[in-house]
Symmetry: C2
Subunit: 108 residues, 2 copies
DNA sequence: ATGTTAATTCAATAAAAGTTATTACGAGAA
DNA sequence: TTCTCGTAATAACTTTTATTGAATTAACAT
């Protein structure tokens, strides 16, 4: 049987990468129930603005967050649909993985 | 309203980290429908043994894979339950995130 | 213009990944 | 047992990439 695994897009990989840092997870969780501007996030997290800016860029490039500008403020909000894309990617494994049969290396 | 976000465990963060590399994703996908020994994986991926060993260690520490030794072979298989843990973590966002209301920075 | 918000640039540092060589350990033969 | 071979992990070292802080720049409001 041939491999039916289609390699995930770089967007999925960069999504997982974006979620692999505690500070970025903190941002994501803060954005879970409302949008926040950068200064809110700085204060909530206690990080410098430039440090946060770097991580926000990572999250934005992974399309896990979106921004909205209002005057001088830039509001960040979750992009739930991209979170769902990652969730669905993982869900595929639950659908397809069988109870793994024992096998041995030689009998290919 | 206080934050109800409980920061995810390091296991979750290391799980996302483990999934943030193309070679490791390739391993995970190869293990989706059967277990494989290291030499199988080396051949399938075309990577050197030691390079692969490094990535397998990352996956194992994140508990995304488990191993079984049989003589000199070590068989790797998916640890589906940990995949589900990550999936469920992402699913929480879908459950809790409202349609985001517009807000402004001042009116805290 | 002046102050405020946030992104960017640059240089220094830290962490991750790759390469090569070595080590550990089990299997099987003498 | 003792030897070697095969499999896989580990170590040492190098290269690459990611992260950080400080300073600067850009955009906006008054």
């Amino acid at each position: 049987m041939p491999e039916t695994t289609s390699l995930p897009s770089t967007l999925i990989i960069s999504g997982f990468h974006a979620l692999s840092d505690p500070l970025r997870i903190q941002v994501i969780e803060l954005l879970r129930d409302r949008e926040l501007c950068v200064c809110d996030l700085c204060e909530a997290i206690g990080a410098t603005q430039s440090k946060l800016s770097f991580h926000l860029k990572t999250l934005k490039e992974a399309q896990l967050v979106q921004t909205r500008q209002e005057g001088r403020w830039i509001y960040y909000r979750l992009n739930l649909s991209q979170m769902v894309v990652l969730e669905q990617y993982l869900a595929e494994y639950r659908r397809f993985s069988p109870i793994l049969p024992t096998r041995t290396c030689r009998e290919e």
